[in-house]
Symmetry: C2
Subunit: 124 residues, 2 copies
Amino acid sequence: MPVELTELQALDLWRRAMVSSVRRDAPDLSARQMALLLTVYLTPPPHTVRGMAETLRVSKPAITRALDRLGELDLVRRKQDESDRRSVLIQRTVRGSVFLREFGELIVAAGRSIAEPERVGSRL
Amino acid sequence: MPVELTELQALDLWRRAMVSSVRRDAPDLSARQMALLLTVYLTPPPHTVRGMAETLRVSKPAITRALDRLGELDLVRRKQDESDRRSVLIQRTVRGSVFLREFGELIVAAGRSIAEPERVGSRL
DNA sequence: GCTAAAAATTCCGATACCGAAACAAATTTT
DNA sequence: AAAATTTGTTTCGGTATCGGAATTTTTAGC
C-alpha cells in the first residue's frame, strides 16, 4: 500500500523530521551515509561495496569511506565473504537496528504532528 | 490532517527519497543546511540567524556557515533588516523554490513506490 | 603457472565543516 | 554620551569528506 502524500505534506514531514534529527545530539550522518545505512537494513542481502556503489551511483572509495564511518559508530559491520574473499559483506548490528528504529519513530512522530493544510506557515 | 505511517513505511519512504537524492547530481546539503532551508520556506517569516539558531538548537556561527553555503547556491538570500540593522533576514529565492518543489516531488514519488509490507526486503 | 580481471582499500591534494573564542556593528540602557 | 547588550561574522586549529589515481589481494581465464 503506497504512502499518499501531497507535495506540501511531504516537505513538511521532511522538515519536521530533519529538525528533530538536527536537534538531538545523535551522530549526524551525511546523505550518503544515511542512504547506505537504510539500504543495508531495508533491502535484501547480500550487500557488497560494489553493489552499494552501483545502487547509489557513487564511487567505490566513497562507499569505503562511508563504511569506515558507519563502522566506527558501530552501525554496520564488515565481514569477508568466505566464498569470494575479494568481496566484503556489509552486515547489520544491534546498534544500527536501534538507531534506525528510533529514527523511524521520529519520522512517524513528525507525520503525526503535521497540521491541517491551512495551519502550515506558507506555500512555495 | 496528520500523515499516518507505520515505522517501516516511514523508513522505507526515507530510504527511497534519500537514495533518489544521492543519485541525482543535485547539490548535496548537510542535514543542518537542509533543515534550515526547509524551515525558511515552510514556516512563517521573519527568519533571523538568531531565530534559526534557537529553532535548530545550533550555534549562530553554524547558521552563518549554512547561510554562506545556501547563499552561494542561490537557495536563500540575506537581507539587512532595515528596522534593526543588526539583524539579517533570510529570504527565499526562485531557485530555492524550484529546488524544494523538485525535492517534494521526489518524496511523493518515493511514497507512491512503496510496496505492500510483504514486498519490503526485510524487517529490523 | 602466468597473466588478466575484479574487488576493495589506500593515498593524494583540495574543499567543507566543526565548536569556541574573539570580533565588529548597531542598539539599548543608564 | 559612555557603557552594556544584542546580533551576526570572522578567525582559529582540528577533523571529515571529496573525487580520482594508484595499490593490494583474490579470483578467473588460458
